[in-house]
């Protein structure tokens, strides 16, 4: 499906990031690149991925031409973190850190890679957003702000790049079994499950499949959209 195409997924050691890499690898993607904050997180079955160790928090200070001196067709902006707290207790550092990694890093990566995509007149950009960007979530003002900002970015970028056969979309996961939801306690999980019509958490491959679809030829005419993958939790 992805023959002779190259992919970069940020945050390829997390649950969703690993599944995206695996999905593209199993479907014929040529080179798979990824980023991680620490090479020790790379799993033994990820030797097919070419990792770059870097911190997206300060990516604006790095020389991206040197680090990313390769060509890609698919860019999946997946890396993200959360630093939850009620807003009145949220520190400036936690606000900035989340906005930097989840939103600002995309600015720098997109500047670097979309230039090359414009030149070759092909590209598929997929952001990983979140259902809470659309519903809000107490304790996640920074996280929801960063993810909601992506939805505007997706639309503007989709319009700007559409004449060059570059599509820009996002996938908004609901609650997915992942390193992020593993942090929740049983009470929190049960409360969430009650709200999900399908009565189960999603699987990281549910997200990987949606990303794969948006990069596939079947989605050639889809741009500026958000695909909600949330078991019915929020119908938007």
């Amino acid at each position: 499906m992805f023959n002779n195409r190259n992919l970069l997924v940020t945050g390829g050691t997390g649950s969703i990031g690993s599944s995206i890499c695996d999905h593209f690898n199993k479907n014929g993607c040529k080179e798979i690149y990824s980023t991680t904050t620490n090479m020790s997180k790379v799993k033994s079955n990820q030797d097919y991925i070419k990792f770059k160790e870097l911190n997206l928090n300060n990516i604006g200070d790095l020389n991206l031409d040197e680090i990313f001196n390769f060509d890609i067709d698919y860019l999946v902006l997946n890396a993200g973190l959360n630093k939850d707290n009620i807003f009145l207790r949220m520190s400036t550092d936690d606000w900035n850190n989340v906005i930097n990694v989840n939103l600002n890093s995309s600015f720098h990566l997109l500047k670097h890679f979309t230039k090359k995509m414009v030149k070759k007149k092909f590209g598929r950009v997929v952001f990983i957003s979140s259902v809470v960007a659309y519903t809000g979530n107490p304790g996640q003002a920074n996280y929801t702000a960063s993810k909601a900002a992506i939805s505007g970015l997706v639309k503007s970028l989709a319009l700007e790049l559409s004449t060059r056969n570059i599509t820009v979309n996002s996938v908004a996961p609901g609650f997915i079994q992942s390193n992020m939801t593993d942090k929740l306690n049983d009470d929190q999980k049960n409360t969430i499950l009650e709200r999900i019509p399908m009565k189960k958490l999603g699987n990281s491959y549910d997200i990987a499949n949606a990303v794969g679809f948006l990069c596939s030829e079947d989605a050639n005419y889809i741009t500026g959209q958000t695909l909600h993958v949330n078991g019915g939790l929020a119908l938007i």
């Binding site: 230039k115 414009v118 030149k119 700007e160 790049l161 004449t163 060059r164």
Partner: protein
């Protein structure tokens, strides 16, 4: 016509698909030669490649005519 002007013109002809005779020194890429804003980005990338130099965004924004490109590249190319 200088060597630089000739090379710049060749790139403009190739990228915008316009006839060479229609390109004047003060022709604006967007207003006169039918380029869109992304074409100007591509033109700048092509200039960078041809002349082996890097054109920063603030300088690139000021290159709106053939003459602007020739002036910039005469002063900054290797």
């Amino acid at each position: 016509m200088s060597d630089i002007e000739e090379r710049v013109k060749k790139i403009v002809v190739e990228h915008l698909g316009v006839e060479e005779a229609k390109i004047k020194s003060d022709s604006k890429f967007i207003d006169d030669l039918g380029a869109d804003s992304l074409d100007t980005v591509e033109l700048v990338m092509a200039f960078e490649e041809e002349f082996g130099c890097e054109i920063p965004d603030d300088a690139a924004e000021k290159i709106v005519t053939l003459k602007d490109a020739v002036t910039y590249l005469s002063a900054n190319s290797n």
